[in-house]
């Protein structure tokens, strides 16, 4: 019997920030392709724009802070921030809004707090919230998914719309944009319509909005890759989805006609992307295992609360920021017992 002999050294390559970020970027690919398929070329244009802005902004601030520029750019964290933001932004958003958001994320939220590893808030989500609060109309104008879109724009038209605001002849804004499923559900529930009624619209698929649920699935695939590569652990995504699902099912069973089925919440908006790619940010999340469970579950519960009773249709960004704020406290109270020491309560 022969065993394969591997020459020394047998140590595995240690994890590095660059490797982690590279895997996150790779894992985003399936979801990105799906979003481009369903929602058009705007996603890719914003990704390029956001990445360029983020890298330039990071380089400028690092020069101002008299820190070495290249190592910080090579760790790809600015690129990940930019990509996550671009995925969250509406595909036809004017270019300067994206630039403002990314500059705020990189310069104020990340670098002014000390750069990677020191930022208390998730830069991508803080930038997104800045834009959502500042430009509510532009930030809630999504495009309809591909199969429901009567006027899909080709790449050139999208480019011209984003950079010059010039719509193709014969179309107006209302023809190319639509509310997201979460937004539509919210508006119609406000008009006292019942869910069984609302769901008869062609906007809806099996669980969430058509197109959206498949985007969620592809992000889920990317998330599973991250789990498999041990870039993230299961604690935050699972507890976040569980928290959201438990809340949603609870209220669904109390009143089925005003609270959508639990999986609607899972497959709508940024839930999956948030659970696997955003809430798991190692800098701003809780670090202890028990803490991560509390952190994730609280995000899930908050997402449901803000979506249902809050002022904005989606809530992942707000929930993540609120829990970023609480992460140090959660960590403080969930320190694991050091081996050989007693629990504080035993004394």
């Amino acid at each position: 019997m022969q065993f394969p002999t591997i020459t020394s050294p047998h140590t595995a390559r240690p994890n590095s920030v660059t490797r982690t970020m590279l895997w996150v970027i790779l894992a985003l690919i399936p979801g990105t392709v799906a979003m481009t398929w369903y929602f058009g070329w705007g996603i890719l244009i914003h990704m390029v724009l956001a990445t360029a802005t983020a890298v330039a902004g990071e380089a400028v601030v690092l020069r101002l802070r008299a820190r070495p520029v290249m190592p910080a750019l090579k760790d790809l964290s600015a690129v990940v921030t930019a990509l996550l933001m671009a995925l969250a932004l509406p595909p036809l958003l004017p270019w300067w809004i994206t630039v403002i958001g990314v500059v705020f994320a990189i310069v104020v939220v990340k670098q002014l707090y000390g750069g990677i590893g020191y930022n208390p808030f998730n830069p991508a989500m803080a930038g997104y919230v800045l834009l959502l609060v500042s430009y509510p109309v532009d930030m809630t104008s999504w495009v309809p998914p591909e199969m429901l879109n009567p006027h899909p724009l080709d790449p050139l038209q999208t480019l011209s719309l984003i950079f010059t605001g010039q719509l193709p002849t014969g179309l107006d804004w209302d023809a190319v944009t639509a509310a997201t499923p979460l937004d539509a559900m919210r508006t119609e529930l406000d008009q006292n319509r019942m869910i069984s009624e609302i769901r008869q619209s062609p906007l809806w698929g099996d669980f969430g909005g058509r197109g959206w649920e498949w985007v969620g699935n592809w992000f889920l695939l990317g998330g599973l890759v991250l789990l498999y590569k041990r870039i993230i652990t299961w604690h935050i995504p699972v507890s976040m989805l569980a928290g959201l699902l438990v809340m949603a099912m609870l209220f669904h069973f109390i009143d089925q006609e005003t609270h959508p089925f639990g999986l609607f919440h899972i497959f709508s908006g940024g839930t999956i992307l948030g659970a696997f790619f955003i809430a798991t940010d190692p800098v701003t999340a809780s670090t202890t295992r028990k803490g991560q469970l509390i952190y994730g579950a609280s995000i899930g519960v908050l997402v449901y609360i803000i979506r249902t009773w809050g002022g904005y249709p989606d809530a992942v960004a707000f929930a993540v920021l609120l829990m970023n704020l609480s992460a140090p406290t959660i960590d403080y109270y969930t320190q694991p017992r050091v081996f050989g020491h007693r629990d504080q309560g035993d004394e």
């Binding site: 403002i100 104020v108 800045l130 609060v133 500042s134 430009y135 509510p136 532009d138």
Partner: protein, 228 residues
């Protein structure tokens, strides 16, 4: 620099209550959403802090240590009431906008702080000047922050100037044009915190530049160590 010049410089810059001492943040952050609101609040505060400083200084030798704080508060509250009533009479619209923050000047820590730290230990003239300088320094910060927030948030400057300067000032309002999409966050509370942070950073930067240019000639004047 004369003693009085030093007082003015401290109040306006080196001991600016908003940028250095970080006092009075509640009104600073709450009403600095437009330049005119900031100016109105700043002037009201300046009047109160100057008059209260003068009065506290006048009675400083007759008030016992044990009861000084209640006495100061009563003095400050009297002036605030006077200011509030006058604003209600002559600047009624502005008074309605600033609302609760006018009576709350009583609780502004700048005023009790100057009464306790300065006016209760100094003669009347200096106390009055200190109050005036501190007040103007605070007003300048309020006004600058208000102007910045107004420009980024609304795309205008000096809206509602007529509330303060009368009907003739209606044309003072500058606008960046109707196409300008204001960044709403700037006129919401987070915008105040972020804006104040940038103002403090700017002040520190200017200070650092100033000390650098000051030290350069000194080091250049030092003789080169000669070999040997």
């Amino acid at each position: 620099m004369s003693e009085y010049g030093k007082l003015v410089k401290e109040g306006l810059w080196s001991n600016n209550q908003a940028l250095v001492a970080l006092l009075g943040l509640c009104p600073l952050l709450a009403v600095s959403n437009t330049a005119i609101n900031g100016l109105g609040m700043g002037i009201a505060t300046t009047v109160v802090v100057t008059l209260s400083n003068g009065t506290v200084s006048l009675i400083r030798n007759w008030v016992r240590q044990e009861v000084r704080l209640p006495v100061f508060v009563i003095i400050i509250a009297s002036f605030v009431t006077a200011v509030e009533l006058s604003m209600n009479a002559w600047f009624h619209e502005l008074y309605k906008i600033l609302g609760i923050f006018i009576p709350l000047i009583v609780t502004n820590c700048i005023i009790i702080g100057r009464a306790e730290a300065f006016a209760s230990k100094n003669p009347v003239g200096r106390s009055l000047l200190d109050g005036l300088a501190i007040g103007i320094g605070f007003t300048l910060v309020l006004f600058t922050l208000g102007a910045l927030r107004e420009i980024t948030g609304l795309g205008t400057l000096f809206t509602q100037a007529d509330l303060m300067f009368g009907e003739g000032a209606r044309n003072l309002t500058l606008s960046l044009g109707d196409d300008f999409k204001g960044m709403l966050l700037a006129i919401l509370p987070p915008g105040a915190f972020i804006g104040l942070g940038f103002l403090i950073a700017l002040k520190n930067l200017i200070d650092r530049r100033a000390t650098q240019t000051k030290t350069v000639p000194v080091s250049a004047a030092q003789p080169e160590p000669t070999a040997g």
